[in-house]
């Protein structure tokens, strides 16, 4: 359709974009390489390859600074939140898409508003509520917050369930299946691709989230990886060789997930924001 041969303008664009993309490659590459340098090596050989590969930084951050605990915190919080989010939002979406009841429309609009307004706006009432129920400094509270922040996944699920033929539902009822059985044994298996999209996008967002843990997880033993790295940054010059290792540890899982599931993440995010 479009011209196959690329003119001069196209080549200039290719070169400029390549240079732009190199920024990320250089920054991430440099971070990974530098994480294997000793502090002395880093000081005099800031950008080259390490003279000798040392895993001293990793030993220091993981074991002595007990970053492994933050790592476990991050993994636990992310996985538990995603499971809870997928369960609650898919059930809600199923109800919204399947049943006709009074106020369904306004309920749907209410949930969609969350796509527009970030959770930051409501942080203060949330904080007061969480404190009243002593949920600050607990993972349960965080999981509830991440689950409640479900506009995006709810939207994706609702779109999907609405497109399913109602014959599917009806025949299951005729076969004598209860509502929960239909949801669990028919709806869940066929919405695997949607579940996948929701999971990967939420993984990136919850793993990287900075604001909610900052406000609600003040206790040091509960810090997530992003918070732990922030703590290092506060004393950047003293510990910058450790930051490389800590940041690498935090970045690797999310980069791997992104590189494998980039299509789901990118198209999922785009689908979640085109309404109208």
């Amino acid at each position: 359709m479009y011209k196959k041969k690329q003119g001069l303008g196209g080549w200039i664009a290719t070169i400029l974009l390549t240079l732009y993309c190199l920024i990320a490659v250089i920054l991430i590459g440099n971070m990974i390489i530098s994480s294997f340098k000793t502090k002395h090596d880093l000081l005099f050989n800031t950008f080259g390859f390490p003279k000798e590969f040392s895993i001293e930084n990793y030993q220091q951050v993981l074991i002595k600074d007990s970053l492994y605990r933050n790592f476990i915190n991050s993994i636990f919080l992310t996985v538990a939140s995603i499971l809870s989010l997928v369960f609650v939002s898919s059930m809600t979406a199923y109800g919204l898409a399947r049943y006709r009841f009074k106020g369904r429309q306004s309920l749907e609009v209410y949930f969609l508003l969350g796509l527009m307004f970030p959770i930051q706006i409501a942080i203060l009432p949330l904080f007061v509520i969480m404190r009243t129920f002593s949920l600050t400094n607990t993972f349960i509270g965080m999981i509830m917050l991440y689950t409640a922040n479900m506009s995006f996944s709810l939207f994706i699920f609702t779109q999907f369930f609405k497109e399913l033929p109602s014959a599917l539902h009806e025949s299951a009822i005729i076969d004598g299946a209860g509502e929960f059985t239909i949801y669990l044994q028919i709806m869940m298996p066929i919405s695997k691709p949607v579940i996948f999209t929701v999971m990967t996008v939420s993984f990136v967002q919850i793993w990287n989230d900075f604001y909610l843990p900052l406000v609600f997880l003040a206790k040091r033993s509960l810090h997530t990886l992003t918070l732990a790295i922030y703590q290092y940054l506060a004393n950047f010059l003293a510990y910058w060789n450790y930051v490389f290792a800590a940041a690498t540890l935090a970045l690797i899982p999310v980069i791997i997930v992104f590189l494998i599931f980039s299509d789901q993440i990118i198209s999922g995010l785009a689908a979640g924001s085109i309404k109208e």
Binding site: T46, P118, V204, Y211, A247
Partner: protein
């Protein structure tokens, strides 16, 4: 708890010290919003279009332009320090290395450019999101219309401006509204790079940062102040609501055909 009426709001708007902080933060939010709408969105449209017309390496570009979005804000902050640190930063070392000594700067320590550097960093982090939203919309442009315009002899520019751009209206409106809200709720990266007090001369201060400082920090006369914080967040929310409604109105006027 005692009711102090509109005292907190009065303090935000009329207390000489507080109103200066507030106006400065609000100004930064608006300045960032203007840059996001008038610089980043055209850039996002351009990048999306280049990928859409499949220039060489388009698949890789889509991936790599989006990639910074999945990096956590504290690592983005780390990268920013790494590049722009006056002593050990990559940029100053490169500039010294190629002999451009007069360009060496203290970057985030320099009040006249700190804000723009921050905008660049935030933009680098988030530009891919708007791009993929617009790109997804481009895939929905009916191809027969585009082909017809090619047969009718439209140039590349005409095809883009007159045929393809009007189809992108929904996604562009969306990105404008989402970017504006994002601009008005800016927190993570300014907080990590500039610290709780908003950098040198408050150049990196934003409304949300001010809110956080007085609510959870101890910057409000040495104590935390939920009430004062609530007042700030009410103001922020009102501003966001007004901007979002205003934008919807403007767009519906603009595109009424």
């Amino acid at each position: 708890m005692e009711c102090i009426g509109l005292e907190n709001f009065k303090r935000i708007f009329f207390d000489p010290r507080m109103s200066r902080i507030f106006n400065n933060a609000l100004g930064n939010n608006f300045r960032y919003m203007a840059i996001a709408v008038f610089v980043f969105i055209p850039l996002q449209i351009l990048m999306a279009y280049l990928i859409h017309i499949k220039i060489h390496g388009h698949n890789l570009f889509r991936l790599m332009i989006f990639l910074p979005y999945v990096i956590s804000p504290s690592i983005i902050g780390f990268f920013a320090l790494l590049v722009f640190d006056p002593n050990i930063g990559i940029l100053n070392n490169v500039l010294l290395g190629i002999g451009l000594n007069q360009l060496v700067s203290s970057w985030f320590g320099n009040p006249s450019i700190a804000f723009y550097l921050l905008v660049v960093v935030i933009g680098w982090n988030g530009i891919g999101v708007g791009m993929v939203i617009i790109l997804a919309n481009m895939k929905n442009i009916p191809q027969d219309v585009v082909e017809a315009s090619i047969i009718d002899g439209a140039s590349v520019w005409q095809r883009f401006w007159l045929v393809e751009l009007p189809f992108l209206e929904p996604s562009i409106i969306n990105v404008v509204v989402l970017s504006s809200i994002f601009a008005l709720t800016q927190f993570d990266i300014p907080f990590i790079v500039g610290g709780l007090n908003g950098g040198v001369n408050g150049k990196l201060d934003f409304l949300n940062l001010m809110f956080f400082r007085y609510t959870f920090g101890d910057a409000y006369f040495g104590e935390t102040a939920l009430g004062f914080g609530a007042a700030i967040s009410v103001v922020v929310f009102t501003i966001i609501l007004c901007i979002a409604i205003l934008q919807k109105l403007v767009f519906s006027r603009l595109f009424k055909r």
